[in-house]
């Protein structure tokens, strides 16, 4: 398999795994943020939004230190016999989950927030348990939010560069994702290879965003018609 295909497959695997992890961990978090009236809510909402504001180099720098032999995450993974995370695929997944967190949590949170409280209260009077209400009312109504979260989480991880550059170590088949491969081609003056991958990325990104807007539009319009 050519170097380009190895990078493409690796990038797709990283994005898929990161998005799946984020949906699992991010959905309860989004629900808690949407329903919470705690005075600590602004703090947690800010923590989730932090990767939007911080340069990837800040995230990469602290991850490299934290996951290193003297850092808290490094001590934990070594203590569990898992070795260390920098320069591994697993390390990139951890980095991507943090880096793409707001892109998954925020759309889901907004979708949960837009569900009227009275619907959930009505269900409660009909003896629906909290879990029932979550799975039969909240989740289906938040579908557009989940679609947005999946697409943005996946696409944003594909577009990740700075964090991977700092914690990845550029290992083929392990940490050399597309963005890093493109950067290396450009810097080495290998412009035809760079063009091929870069143009592919532009087409991919455009396609993904078009699909997102196409999928989410009917849902919103049908909701408006029902009102």
């Amino acid at each position: 398999m050519s170097a380009a295909w190895i990078a493409i497959r690796l990038t797709a695997e990283l994005a898929a795994l990161s998005t799946a992890s984020l949906l699992l961990a991010g959905t309860p978090l989004a629900w808690a943020l949407a329903r919470s009236r705690s005075r600590w809510k602004p703090l947690f909402a800010s923590l989730v939004a932090l990767p939007l504001v911080l340069p990837p180099s800040v995230l990469g720098f602290y991850l490299l230190l934290a996951m290193g032999p003297h850092g808290p995450i490094g001590a934990l993974t070594q203590g569990l016999g898992l070795g260390r995370l920098p320069f591994t695929f697993a390390g990139l997944v951890v980095g991507s989950v943090l880096y793409s967190m707001p892109f998954v949590v925020q759309p889901v949170q907004q979708a949960f927030e837009s569900i009227p409280e009275r619907l959930l209260e009505a269900a409660a009077t009909l003896r629906a348990t909290a879990l029932d209400r979550f799975f039969t009312i909240a989740l289906p109504l938040a579908r557009p939010g989940f679609v947005t979260a999946c697409v943005l989480g996946f696409a944003h991880t594909v577009g990740e560069f700075g964090v991977v550059l700092m914690i990845g170590g550029n290992i083929p088949g392990e940490t050399r994702v597309l963005s890093v491969a493109i950067y290396d081609h450009v810097e080495a003056g290998e412009l035809p290879e760079a063009h091929m991958l870069a143009a592919g990325m532009v087409v991919f990104a455009l396609g993904v965003l078009c699909a997102l807007y196409a999928i989410n539009r009917p849902a919103r319009e049908s909701a408006e018609q029902a009102r």
């Binding site: 490299l64 003297h70 260390r84 920098p86 320069f87 550059l165 170590g169 550029n170 290396d184 003056g189």
Partner: protein, 254 residues
Amino acid sequence: MNLVRHFTARTLTGCALFAAFAFAQAGEVTVAVAANFAGPFARIGEAFTTATGHTLKVSTASTGAFHAQIKAAAPFDVLLAADDETPRQLVAEGLAVPGSNFTYAIGKLVLWSVQPGFVDDQGAVLASSRFAHIAIANPKLAPYGAAALEALKARRLAEAMAPRIVTAETVAQAWQFVASGNAELGFVALSQVAIPGKPAVGSYWVVPANLYAPIRQDAVLLKAGENNTAAAALLDYLKGEASKATIRAWGYGL
């Protein structure tokens, strides 16, 4: 009151005139410096500014990255490369002034670890299984990376080592991977660990010169700096005895 104001105005005018005069004399040089030479160049640049009044704007990256940027019309006046090939190519491509390239330092490759006693004085640790990761600079972009790969090949370790090699964009990032302890070992420049007065912690092995082609580091005047007298002055200063003493103090050959 009036007198004070008058006096202040005169002083300010005097200062402004003096500053304008000084600026007319002093130029500015935009310098692209290969990552391995960033440390010594900080000292040399300071001395140069003190001696001539010319100020410097310094960028550091890998030599390969600079080559790509200069081809794309980056506004650098002078390049201090980590090899002699890139300056020669730039001259051939018409992007640098012919005849202006010269060797300012000969780099030395070292195998370094932050753990004291980890690297022995024969480099035998390379053949051991005592490390999970070894950092090198990208051989396609950084001459120190290419030299590291050569040394591994000379020891017939390159293929067996491949899964443990982590590639940094520059030799500075390779240093960082080792310094943070994430890579137990790494090939870096001697100038990065033998800093005068502040040697790096750990242990290192100066790789014998017969294991890799000499890292002749050439400087060159780029087309953008052709008419910049301050750029010419910097290259002259780099050839001077004061600069040479600094360069030798950081472990380079000359």
